[in-house]
Symmetry: D2
Subunit: 352 residues, 4 copies
Amino acid sequence: MKAAFLTSVMRFEIRDIPLPDCPEDGIILKVKACGVCGSDLRRWREGPMLSSIPPIPGHEIAGEVIAIGKNITDYTIGERLAVAPDIHCGNCYYCEQGLYNLCDNLRLIGITPGYDGGFTEYMVLTGEILRNGIVHRVPPGLSDLQAALAEPASSVLAAHERVGTSLGDTVLVMGAGPIGCLHVIVAKARGARVLLSEPHAGRRQRGEVFGPDGIIDPSQQDVVAQVREMTDGRGVDIVICANPIAETQTQAVEVVRKRGRVVLFGGLPKDHPMTVLNANLIHYGEIQVVGSFSYHPIFHQRALDLIKQGVIPSDKLITHTFSLDQINEAFQTAAGGDALKVIITFETGAAS
Amino acid sequence: MKAAFLTSVMRFEIRDIPLPDCPEDGIILKVKACGVCGSDLRRWREGPMLSSIPPIPGHEIAGEVIAIGKNITDYTIGERLAVAPDIHCGNCYYCEQGLYNLCDNLRLIGITPGYDGGFTEYMVLTGEILRNGIVHRVPPGLSDLQAALAEPASSVLAAHERVGTSLGDTVLVMGAGPIGCLHVIVAKARGARVLLSEPHAGRRQRGEVFGPDGIIDPSQQDVVAQVREMTDGRGVDIVICANPIAETQTQAVEVVRKRGRVVLFGGLPKDHPMTVLNANLIHYGEIQVVGSFSYHPIFHQRALDLIKQGVIPSDKLITHTFSLDQINEAFQTAAGGDALKVIITFETGAAS
Amino acid sequence: MKAAFLTSVMRFEIRDIPLPDCPEDGIILKVKACGVCGSDLRRWREGPMLSSIPPIPGHEIAGEVIAIGKNITDYTIGERLAVAPDIHCGNCYYCEQGLYNLCDNLRLIGITPGYDGGFTEYMVLTGEILRNGIVHRVPPGLSDLQAALAEPASSVLAAHERVGTSLGDTVLVMGAGPIGCLHVIVAKARGARVLLSEPHAGRRQRGEVFGPDGIIDPSQQDVVAQVREMTDGRGVDIVICANPIAETQTQAVEVVRKRGRVVLFGGLPKDHPMTVLNANLIHYGEIQVVGSFSYHPIFHQRALDLIKQGVIPSDKLITHTFSLDQINEAFQTAAGGDALKVIITFETGAAS
Amino acid sequence: MKAAFLTSVMRFEIRDIPLPDCPEDGIILKVKACGVCGSDLRRWREGPMLSSIPPIPGHEIAGEVIAIGKNITDYTIGERLAVAPDIHCGNCYYCEQGLYNLCDNLRLIGITPGYDGGFTEYMVLTGEILRNGIVHRVPPGLSDLQAALAEPASSVLAAHERVGTSLGDTVLVMGAGPIGCLHVIVAKARGARVLLSEPHAGRRQRGEVFGPDGIIDPSQQDVVAQVREMTDGRGVDIVICANPIAETQTQAVEVVRKRGRVVLFGGLPKDHPMTVLNANLIHYGEIQVVGSFSYHPIFHQRALDLIKQGVIPSDKLITHTFSLDQINEAFQTAAGGDALKVIITFETGAAS
Ligand SMILES: NC(=O)c1ccc[n+]([C@@H]2O[C@H](COP(=O)([O-])OP(=O)(O)OC[C@H]3O[C@@H](n4cnc5c(N)ncnc54)[C@H](OP(=O)(O)O)[C@@H]3O)[C@@H](O)[C@H]2O)c1
Ligand SMILES: NC(=O)c1ccc[n+]([C@@H]2O[C@H](COP(=O)([O-])OP(=O)(O)OC[C@H]3O[C@@H](n4cnc5c(N)ncnc54)[C@H](OP(=O)(O)O)[C@@H]3O)[C@@H](O)[C@H]2O)c1
Ligand SMILES: NC(=O)c1ccc[n+]([C@@H]2O[C@H](COP(=O)([O-])OP(=O)(O)OC[C@H]3O[C@@H](n4cnc5c(N)ncnc54)[C@H](OP(=O)(O)O)[C@@H]3O)[C@@H](O)[C@H]2O)c1
Ligand SMILES: NC(=O)c1ccc[n+]([C@@H]2O[C@H](COP(=O)([O-])OP(=O)(O)OC[C@H]3O[C@@H](n4cnc5c(N)ncnc54)[C@H](OP(=O)(O)O)[C@@H]3O)[C@@H](O)[C@H]2O)c1
Ligand SMILES: [Zn+2]
Ligand SMILES: [Zn+2]
Ligand SMILES: [Zn+2]
Ligand SMILES: [Zn+2]
């Protein structure tokens, strides 16, 4: 079977490797679709870690069960599954509280060394993944592409649940990447009015499709002034920083109203994690700054449901698909900034 | 009558001025006790604003009604009142929502120019104060000193209500000033385990009286390491930054557990309002950083009730009292760092 | 000027009375539109209280300022206002907490004796109403009919805020009167899937316009069985009892899922206020049964905004309008059960 | 080994049965203490179900590991464990949400047929129990009696977390059984003022030990009138119905203030589950009636911690202990109404 290994900086190599054996408590998934995520791009730009086997990334996965281990009773051959990356330990303080995304021993498929991902024709879902990972059946009527999209949508759903975005709120989304666009969609579905800020012209155009009530170009416009003007001087109720730029976090505190909420949805570069915020705006304005990372498994199920209901319009979010052989082109396209969601799809030919 | 004017840096002058007239819709209060607050100390250190009439500070006020305007029906002569500084406008977006402490037009007795405070024998409570300020009757059995203490206690009560401090939480309070000590008291009354960190030895000793479950000296000990040790490595559930030092805010994010809450309770110096926080701890740990400033009037009533019930032990918090004539000494004592709450009291002689 | 007096059971009389004088701290409103509410119908069926002056009902009011008292500075002649019934006291325990709708001394325009309502050409908005009532400016672009609709919409908005209706929830609305239809609209705007149950065929048809995801006829179908079938056997997340029938409350507890929420939105007849609920479903299923009555003034402002934004489609809700002279016909129509919102409108002729 | 079988109405029989084998994925627990719960008493009064093997009840369990299966790595011989009854399935809608106590397939040790309980010298903790049950290590310093007490305390902790009992609240607890007394303790630990109502004189006396701020005898006093008097006419913020009497639920709605919360903590008899509540008080007063049943496993851990900290004073709650041989006497004592918590203890002799 073929799999894509990240062998050097910005370089995947397709290799032919033996089909894996099915473990007794696991299953073999024929991958049908696997999305390219921003964190995949980051790793692709940095290259694989030295002195390690080149990894197989990919964690926005949809596929079909083609083999089941002898101890497996919950799954049957032919079932279609959507798989998300998180595997929790089940034993730590956070797992006991059901805060699985904060697990002290969290491992991520397609990211954590030793947990190869979905840019491959076939992959093993181990017993550990089936027990403590995030695996849901694809509802009938949902395509493989749609099922793969559930993963990034899940984190966005979780963030809005956390801050309670609701009818009557005005939300500023900073960043119109695939994630920012999902924030526009979800905030609107919850009844909010949405402003979108994005420096890249192509992305602003893409973002417009999702119906934001106002668009800002932070490369040309004064974001703070613009937002004030669009909100009778008051500021927005909620800001979502859907990008990895510390400066947007600083701005967020300046454009949110008193008692407003700022969501740090994107991480900053590992070696520059510090952000500079106006503590007095937070203090005197009783602002809330809150982090949001990954999600409880129930949001993955909910994402599948909402894509099926058409609340999340997959066709407008998925702008490009490529075959596994074209994965380098796929990543280039995703990195180019003109695409939104880029997904690797697989022919439905026989196992090789 | 005598009143204390802040005439220059670290200098009050007692002047004899005419007794004010009672407005038709206001009352005259004979001040009985007025606390010295940290913000009073700050202004005392900075001195009065240039080119303005020297102000009369003081906003932790208890007194007795000695005259009422002809339109006043709610108050009677002889009643004892506790007065807090906030006056809201009643018309802005925040007032409409009942978020009076966030009023766009907030004025503060004893702080905002034109709103003289309680370091005086008699003061006018104008119609505006009676309508939109914070004035509550002193419950029977409460002394004037206790009634004055309700003001600082109110802000502490509001902060814990906001973050929901509760049974089973571990709370770190950074700073053992009068406010930090109130945080220890209130967090414990809500069922929390409390750690207290304070560099000043005298204050640590004072703080010990309120029964914290652990004490840290940040000038000698590594706060982060200490807190981890005291919490099985996990970090605390809630941190209260009860001081004006940005560094403690940075530390707070490092010692709080995932999904924990950090309260920015103290403002930073006006000209250095920026704070530096680890955005990735917030993002990946889904930490909440939240400001808390002043309070809804109901907390002032609740503070009076809790002082009366003995939940807030006023006798241990009020370490010094001075007469109005001794106000310079009072401020020196408060600034010295060995006192907790310092209160100016007034003889109950006849109006002069 | 003309006004409609409820003189006997199901009988209004139009009388010509003198134009009221404008109080110094009040204004005179020329009424432009005044909706017929379910509680108006109830009183109309019961007739006026004996031994009292026949009242002028009507509390869903929109109009124009035509005179202002000499102490009025906030309003100007020609301004258009929307007026809701609640007048709170400002002094009781609930008012202090900002829970104005729960005021111990609540009075209602058009309902409480002495507080005549909007079925009249001109009405006085007293100082008390301007200070402690619910009066908002009509946003430009909103018609009088739309402005009058804000009142019933407000209570519906408040109820969903209280139970946090959100994306992913399934809501059952019991009753497709004007209020039930508003619940369908608001629940959907917040992202919920909505089921609507209503025995009256004409109303079911009217309700269908608002896009419920399922419709039930409780006169023919087993509601509990139907809802279970429509929710994979689980029950709904939220039930809104938008009718005055105790039996629907009993059913609500049976069709809501564990940890679900039941909103008692309609009151029961005054002399039969008891409801019979399965306490064990509540206990073992940790169900929440919660009352919702009237609203905080901010929801009236929000309703105006949402009608303006088209989120609340006024044209589909307002099915009939009548002139003041036709008020008896208007009430008959409203009572007939084929209409949704019925509104009395006024020509814009000169004051008579 | 000896075990207590419920063989007929109000009759246990001690039988000698073979020591169970240790399953590969389970452990053998030597029971050290097992509390008598109200539901045990109910079953004892009703007798065992016909045509079934007489059960071994008991679900408030503390013991010591004396054997481990060959697949067990998490537990070691000699460890002390506290065991609570709930076993969730891990697969249903509620389990996915972490609402384990609402599991659609919940089984209860010592209650569900096939799941024998703790009134026995040795019991098997199966793999299912270890994976999906509630088993926590006993913190050092806690006695076996104290560890057994964690179970009933857990449900009480969960209830107050659910309604957010806090500083400033007044709580009415109806019933001064062991559970009602725990509610007094926990409400007070969270900062509330507590009123206790209980018809049985002996129980009122026992309850007094836990420091309620007011005591009511509902057999002699008008509860509604009394509570109004003790709350300035307003009613309490929270009512806990800690008994199985429908009438107290009806009263609860009458004595709670507007926006107050009523917790249905006790179930009603299976064949009389209907409760009669004043729907108009709920509707117009926006009261919340909420069920509370069992708890998330984290509350069991928290209960152990709080007993250890002395917040829950075990010595005052545990009024009687009996040996397994005296189990009939133990139940008679528990049923008598003069005891609070009655616990069966076991000598620490060798396995027989
Ligand atoms: N919380 C979670 O669980 C979670 C899950 C998935 C992703 N994320 C994070 O979410 C973020 C967005 O993901 P993505 O895939 O959409 O990334 P992306 O494609 O890189 O999108 C980020 C967008 O932000 C724009 N941007 C740059 N500077 C900006 C500014 N000052 N104001 C507004 N927008 C600005 C970028 O424009 P240019 O292209 O011109 O730079 C880009 O279009 C990433 O940081 C990612 O790590 C978080
Ligand atoms: N949110 C509100 O509504 C509200 C209301 C009132 C007050 N406040 C604020 O609350 C804060 C505390 O008030 P206060 O009257 O108690 O002030 P304070 O007397 O100045 O107390 C602050 C304490 O913090 C200590 N401290 C300094 N560096 C520290 C560190 N690194 N770690 C821990 N503690 C440290 C100080 O010690 P040294 O004496 O050695 O410097 C001092 O004892 C102030 O910032 C005030 O503005 C807020
Ligand atoms: N909470 C608040 O602040 C607030 C504000 C306004 C109104 N309300 C209340 O909201 C309720 C609805 O108001 P509305 O103006 O829409 O009243 P409405 O026109 O009387 O509508 C109630 C509807 O419920 C239907 N119904 C009767 N039995 C039913 C059943 N078993 N299942 C489902 N539906 C049933 C009625 O059908 P038929 O016509 O065939 O009887 C009617 O169409 C009233 O009780 C009102 O008092 C509350
Ligand atoms: N939610 C949960 O997870 C959970 C967990 C454990 C227990 N429970 C329930 O909690 C309830 C209390 O448990 P328990 O073990 O303490 O039971 P208990 O010993 O039977 O105590 C109930 C007490 O309520 C008293 N009572 C009777 N009528 C009353 C009235 N009108 N007003 C006030 N008190 C009245 C009883 O007095 P007399 O003795 O004179 O009748 C008795 O002392 C039970 O219903 C139990 O099922 C629930
Ligand atoms: Zn974990
Ligand atoms: Zn204001
Ligand atoms: Zn009131
Ligand atoms: Zn389950």
